[in-house]
């Protein structure tokens, strides 16, 4: 370059100003979108809960910290991101929806697993995932695959879940769902069935 070197202060100021302007722009965008994003998240969660427990009329998030800590402990590697008590139309408790994060091929998949009061799976729905498009997505989008879990018996064991047919070519993604269901079963056995909801 032929021109004289720029003064250090100009260098520093130009980067600082760029960063400030960019930060202001992002803050403005965030202010516009934050409410809508929170709303979309809530809607998506609601939809997943409904899909996992079609018979439930309403859900209420469990806030008891001891129960949540106990659930987290019995779930092992799977993260418990929320437990929701499900109520039927007459307001009676009819089960739980568990939101769990289970490790797949592309990071954590967020699943919602519905359990009735006897510990039977009422349904499994996928809230979000980052599996390989075309391979792992076959697992996450497959109604047939997810429906298999509703046929598990009450108080199902790890072996029961293992026996569920995986989708070929997507073993890790299939396992993510299976691990999530296994963890939900463990949470039911250790925490929910004991009334500590």
């Amino acid at each position: 370059m032929t021109h004289a070197p720029t003064k250090p202060i100009t260098l520093i100021m130009s980067v600082v100003v760029t960063c400030l302007v960019a930060a202001a722009g992002l803050a403005a965008t965030y202010a516009v979108t934050a409410d809508r994003i929170a709303e979309q998240d809530r809607l998506a969660q609601e939809k997943s809960l409904k899909a996992a427990m079609p018979d439930a009329a309403s859900f209420e998030q469990v806030t008891d910290e001891d129960a949540l800590a106990a659930a987290e402990a019995s779930a092992g590697d799977v993260k418990v991101n929320g437990i929701f008590t499900a109520f039927d139309e007459s307001g009676d408790e009819m089960g739980w929806g568990l939101r769990v994060g289970s490790r797949g091929y592309g990071g954590y998949a967020q699943l919602v697993i519905g359990l009735d009061t006897s510990g039977k799976v009422t349904g499994v729905s996928v809230l979000s995932h980052a599996e390989t498009p075309g391979l792992g997505t076959k697992v996450m989008d497959s109604v047939e695959f997810l429906a298999q879990f509703s046929e598990l018996p009450e108080a199902f064991t790890v072996a029961d879940v293992k026996a569920v047919d995986s989708i070929s070519g997507a073993t890790k993604s299939s396992r993510a769902v299976k691990n999530g269901v296994t963890a939900a079963g463990a949470v039911y056995a250790d925490v929910l069935s004991k009334g500590g909801e």
Binding site: T18, A22, T29
Partner: protein
Amino acid sequence: MREWIRVFKDGLSIENPLTVLMIGLCATLAVSTQLQGSFFMGIAVIFVLVMSNVLISMFRKFIPDEVRIPIFIVIIAAFVTIVDLFMKAFFPPIYAILGIWIPLIVVNCIILGRAEAFAYTNTVWLSIADGFGMGLGYTILIVVLATFRELFGTGKLMFLGATLISLPSGYKPPGILMLFPGAFILFGLLQALSRKYNEHVTRKAR
């Protein structure tokens, strides 16, 4: 205006970012497994590319040479984050498809490459042409690639939940098309085709 059209066309043909400059390939091969994802990825790239080109060419006289790269990156990252937030807020179904790939636009070399090679030394007007041309060149290529991969790799072509084409059920999709080796082979073939086309374009220009 003629100059504008020439710059725009260069992005589509003889300076196509994917087949000629061969930049931004990593994200391209990864995203091009689905038609709809690729299409919206293309749109997002066009937006970020045009906006960053405009801003960088506008302020090119004030951006000191020594710190231009950090400044480019901040500008590009800001636009990508804006796209990310807007998609999340207003187009959740599309965000569900693209999700993790959106932040990767920041490190897509096409955008930084054009900022450095074009916008930094050209007028705003021409930089817009470059942004649109390069962006569209990218979008067309990735959509063609994804159409082939999705159709022959999964046996059907989907767009926003609707099935566009589906192959007869006797067709057994080869899994390799969905994986990187298949993407590379297909991309090589596409590149050969576009070379042929570009030869034709340059011959006509002479």
